[in-house]
């Protein structure tokens, strides 16, 4: 068996074969084992696994439909969340939902109902756009918004009883959505109309996130949430009193044990286009330039440089975050 002959043959049909290997440096790590530990008879198997790594990963960039279906899953997650807490629009709220709604100020409840409507419309829009290719609507029982994986007693056990917890989870979901759409956009470039639609959802999610942050720092029962300033000037106060945008890493977000990954760096899948990275939200380097350094003469607050840019997240990282809210055994985000 001549590995190099195989590679050479492969190069005739795929001129990029060596580049594939080159860009997958880890593959070569496996080849080190050849001489040392693998018997000749094991070679074909090992070789197969190398090609799998070189090709399996590079060819698994999501298609337009993949991205849209992933977005649809996230929209189901969000839509079901608001429905569960506030009641499905147009249906009679349960006694528990009615009690819960009364805990929010009138302007905040109006804001939440608008967000709920948007999310339900996003579900409908994406499902319609995908048509027969759309995933089936997941059962509402697939989700546990307490983060308890089905027990209903997770870290957010009072999510539909305590408005502060509800807003904390809502902010976390919306901020995740913003990063997810940003990460998905490059894979939609082949269809400009779909890309534009996704961008038009992306900014609406950002508007939602901003409003939820405003409500969180003012308190759920405040009727003039926008009049309340964030507490303090450092990132340390941002867990409970966020700005309307992400400042640094927001000190880990609303509930750092669960929400820190929402503001942290993502792990780039091997198919990620050249030059696209998934830094944490406190990133200050854009287009290769450290703005904090390059623009130091402005004497702006340090945090302003990270606040001015949001960052994308890739599908695997978003899936891991989203699976916080699915039950054990659910394959929705696996």
């Amino acid at each position: 068996m001549n590995i190099f002959a195989i590679l050479s043959e492969l190069e005739k049909t795929d001129p990029e074969v060596f580049e594939r290997f080159d860009s997958r440096r880890r593959v070569f790590k496996h080849m080190t084992g050849f001489g040392k530990t693998l018997a000749a008879s094991a070679l074909p198997l090992a070789l197969g696994s190398i090609f799998n790594k070189a090709y399996g990963q590079t060819t698994s960039a999501p298609s337009v439909n993949d991205v849209l279906n992933f977005a649809l899953k996230l929209e189901y997650l969000e839509s079901y969340f608001y429905d569960a807490g506030l009641g499905v629009a147009g249906s009679t709220a349960t006694a528990a939902q009615t009690t819960f709604r009364a805990l929010f100020s009138a302007t905040n409840l109006s804001a939440l109902d608008k967000i709920r409507t948007d999310e339900a419309n996003h579900v409908k829009y994406l499902a319609t756009a995908l048509g027969a290719n759309a995933i089936a609507a997941p059962a509402r029982t697939q989700f546990d918004f307490t983060g308890g994986k089905g027990s209903g007693t997770g870290p957010f056990a009072d999510v539909f009883l305590n408005p502060a917890t509800f807003l904390a989870v809502a902010q976390s979901l919306e901020d995740t959505g913003v990063r997810a759409y940003k990460g998905g956009a490059p894979y939609l470039m082949s269809n400009k109309d779909v890309l534009t639609a996704a961008l038009n959802i992306h900014s609406v999610e950002a508007r939602h996130a901003s409003r939820l942050r405003t409500m969180r720092r003012a308190g759920a029962n405040n009727n003039t949430a926008s009049a309340v300033a964030p507490a303090g000037t450092t990132e340390a106060g941002r867990n409970a009193s966020p700005k309307s945008w992400i400042s640094g890493k927001d000190n880990g977000g609303a509930s750092p044990t669960q929400t820190a990954p929402i503001y942290d760096a993502g792990t780039a899948p091997s198919y990620t286009p050249t030059g696209i990275t998934f830094p944490a939200e406190d990133n200050v380097t854009q287009g290769g330039v450290n703005l904090q350094t390059a623009l130091s003469s402005l004497n702006f607050p340090t945090l302003a440089f990270s606040e001015a840019f949001d960052e994308p997240l890739p599908v695997p990282t978003v899936s891991a975050i989203a699976s916080t809210f699915t039950i054990t055994g659910s394959t929705l985000f696996s």
């Binding site: 496996h30 950002a206 901003s210 409003r211 942050r213 290769g288």
Partner: protein, 248 residues
């Protein structure tokens, strides 16, 4: 799929002969130098754009074509926003705000963010296409009363909403995935701005029907460049008005 653990020593030792190729080396060389990296980032569009004559309308500022055209377009809008918030800071509405007030802190942050956006585009375009960057535009803010809360917040709302609609509408004209992501990094911050400014004007109006199709799809109502500049040009002096016909 098997998980591969990275072991630096092993890998480095083995990988060297096979894989130290020049390509990767020089990439890191570029990445180390900030100006070089930006040039690298923008290099993709430079050549082809140089071959396309940018449309020009006498007395107007053409943003150019291709990705540089979109970047110049974004740079122009960020110039407007940054210029606006800079001037806000001189009016009695802003100067009369208590230091601890939400409005003061919000307007301060918006000023920082928009100036950073403007300077980012200036640096990025200068590094990549120094002959194609548009000039510093002269704004016309004569219709704005910087001493009036209503006028300042009303204009801020118009600018932020316009910015979001503009970035969303221009996304389809971007050819490089990297620029698309950079535009995405900025537009969501603009959307966050728009939401809080709208809430300051009217509590909980952050996704009203003038900006989001709230009754149907829940999508932002994005705008084509030609529509955006019709509004933007009313805030620019003669000689600084924008021609975006090269973006297509």
């Amino acid at each position: 799929m098997s998980k591969i653990t990275q072991n630096g020593t092993d890998e480095a030792e083995f990988a060297k002969p096979l894989y130290v190729p020049i390509k990767r080396r020089s990439f890191f060389m570029y990445a180390g130098a900030t100006a070089g990296a930006t040039a690298l980032l923008l290099a993709g569009c430079k050549d082809e754009d140089n071959n396309v004559a940018a449309p020009t309308t006498p007395g107007m500022v053409s943003v150019g074509t291709g990705d540089v055209g979109v970047l110049n377009y974004a740079y122009a809008l960020e110039q407007l926003e940054a210029g606006f918030y800079t001037q806000v800071r001189t009016g009695t509405y802003y100067t009369g705000l208590a230091a601890t007030s939400a409005e003061k802190q919000i307007l301060d942050d918006l000023y920082y963010h928009e100036v950073i956006h403007r300077e980012f585009f200036k640096a990025a375009i200068t590094a990549a296409a120094p002959t194609q960057i548009i000039k510093a535009l002269e704004p016309d803010f004569s219709k704005i009363d910087f001493n009036s809360r209503t006028s300042v917040l009303g204009t801020a709302k118009a600018f932020e909403d316009l910015g979001v609609a503009a970035y969303n509408g221009a996304g389809r004209y971007i050819q490089s995935a990297q620029y698309l992501v950079i535009a995405g990094k900025i537009v969501s911050v603009e959307a966050r701005h728009a939401a809080i400014i709208r809430d300051l004007v009217a509590e909980a109006s952050f996704v009203d029907s003038d900006v989001v199709a709230i009754g149907s799809t829940g999508l932002e109502l994005s705008k084509e460049p030609s529509v955006v500049v019709a509004t933007a040009n009313t805030f620019l002096k003669d000689g600084s008005k924008l021609d975006v016909s090269g973006i297509k």
